[in-house]
């Protein structure tokens, strides 16, 4: 999984809902087609996945040893 630059990483691991969702959608709005971002969370965000699919974005998820889900999202 290619890691995007730090400014394209939303570390939402210690944020309460709906903050992770809101910040991800805000960052997605700033991306150009083909660019990607990463969301870090301690859970899999299935409601976000649904919105991403509806909007035609690709995503790929990897679970790290410390329990962090790294979600790479392409616009």
């Amino acid at each position: 999984m290619n890691r995007p630059p730090p400014e394209r990483i939303v570390d939402a691991r210690y944020l309460e809902p709906p903050e992770p969702f809101v910040r991800t959608m805000e960052m997605l709005d700033t991306l150009q087609p083909g660019e990607s971002m990463m969301l870090l969370l301690f859970r899999e965000p299935h409601p976000l996945y649904r919105v991403l699919r509806q909007n035609g974005h690709d995503y790929e998820t990897a679970l790290q040893d410390d329990g962090t889900f790294e979600i790479l999202i392409r616009r």
Binding site: M25, H46, P47, R50, L63, D65, G67
Partner: protein
């Protein structure tokens, strides 16, 4: 943002709410039974009146909320959607409530027909739910420890209900089954394979989310549900082959796994980034310490079985596990989930900005109810030692604590309705 936030697949608020609002009434009924019977209910774990009260708590309160919440969280934590969530909620709620009442009445009045009817009502409604949940989860890959845990927990529920129904029918019809060994196994499957596994699967999501702790490390999270389930199966096989020693090893193994999970959760809670000890945190701390103590008891009883000969041993275990641990975890989660759902549905109904969650239920109300729950727990434990003095008082305290929960949940719903009306009037 409004459209993006709408969880279009989320079941209507009424679907889980009917379970959450009915459950405290069953817990109040259990408290009233104890207040009515007094100390004689606590003479042994086999007292019919105690079995009635215990099942009002475990089915009427715990199972009711666990399944109501599962209907709600399947789309959120697993991306799995029940075909008709409202319809499932309606008949499941009816089946569980009727079944819990029939079972309690069957024990209380010693009526075989009521016990048989309870076994049928609870068996049919849970297995119909398992069918609906199984369809929703079929084809959903286990991409997270939560999804794997959820699937295994549902298998655990199937086992717990099957064993429970067999026991009820054995009592009603005099089937020649090893009732005592099977009752222990039923407890292991209900509180371990089902309750413990579901709790872990949910904790992986809600502990970091609601208490701002680090995440559960991946490796033990994958292993925990499978290990618990494998030990529960081994315990069952040991009973079937009449091997008491193997049953004890499996039982002790389950207790150790549960203790490890509770200790890990306590460690994560110590690293939380929210300094304030809110009601959810207090309930989880209470629950985790009670669980560790009860599981330590279970472990020592597998090594020194004569300990369990003292009638109070099983009673203390049951009180710590059911009232101290599971009810605490469940109420702690409800105090986050119900205000969050109210907020979410207000937001989706166009009530923007939706009121802050602490406007829907102030923390002080939850902490007061937690204090009532702690008092009820202490009195229940005391009643095991001095039943004649404390049993009735403990029953009243449990009724008051459950009544406080009912009142708190109802006030969230009332405020939710008031905000909704105000938004519509605009």
């Amino acid at each position: 943002m409004q459209a993006l936030l709408s969880f279009d697949k989320a079941p209507p608020f009424a679907a889980p709410l009917r379970f959450f609002l009915t459950a405290p009434i069953f817990a109040m009924a259990a408290g009233l039974l104890l207040a009515w019977s007094g100390g004689e209910m606590l003479a042994s774990r086999w007292m019919p009146s105690l079995l009635a009260a215990v099942h009002l708590l475990t089915i009427g309160f715990m199972l009711q909320i666990m399944l109501g919440a599962t209907i709600q969280i399947l789309p959120v934590v697993a991306g799995a959607n029940l075909a008709r969530p409202m319809r499932v909620a309606l008949w499941l709620h009816g089946g569980l409530s009727t079944g819990a009442l029939l079972l309690a009445a069957g024990f209380w009045f010693g009526q075989p027909a009521l016990l048989s009817a309870a076994a049928v009502a609870l068996g049919l409604s849970t297995f119909a739910f398992l069918g609906a949940a199984g369809r929703a989860l079929s084809g959903v890959p286990s991409t997270s420890p939560t999804i794997r845990g959820l699937k295994l927990a549902l298998a655990g529920l199937a086992g717990a209900v099957l064993l429970g129904a067999m026991l009820a029918l054995a009592l009603a019809r005099g089937w020649p089954l090893p009732v005592m060994a099977m009752a222990d196994l039923h407890v292991g499957w209900a509180l371990g394979a089902w309750g413990g596994t579901l709790l872990a699967a949910m904790a992986y999501v809600v502990v970091p989310m609601f208490q701002l702790t680090p995440g559960y490390p991946a490796r033990p999270s994958w292993w925990f549900p499978g290990l618990l389930m494998a030990l529960a199966v081994a315990w069952g096989l040991a009973i079937a082959s009449d091997s008491t020693g193997a049953a004890r090893v499996a039982q002790g193994g389950m207790a150790l796994v549960g203790m490890a999970f509770a200790a890990l959760t306590l460690r994560l809670q110590r690293q939380r980034r929210r300094a304030r000890a809110d009601a959810t945190y207090r309930y989880w701390q209470l629950g985790l310490y009670c669980a560790i103590f009860a599981l330590f008891q279970a472990l020592t009883a597998t090594i020194l079985p004569q300990l369990a000969d003292w009638a109070g041993w099983s009673l203390v275990f049951g009180i710590l596990m059911i009232v101290g641990a599971f009810m605490s975890f469940i109420i702690g989660m409800l105090y986050k989930i119900v205000p969050f759902l109210a907020w979410l549905h207000l937001q989706n109904a166009g009530c923007t900005p939706a009121p802050a969650m602490n406007k829907l239920l102030p923390d002080a109300s939850m902490v007061r109810q937690w204090q009532a729950h702690v008092l009820a727990l202490v009195l229940l434990l005391g009643a095991v030692v001095v039943p004649d003095f404390l049993a009735r008082l403990a029953g009243i305290a449990l009724t008051v604590a459950a009544g406080g929960l009912f009142y708190n949940l109802l006030s969230i719903v009332q405020r939710y309705r008031a905000y909704l009306e105000a938004a519509k009037a605009k």
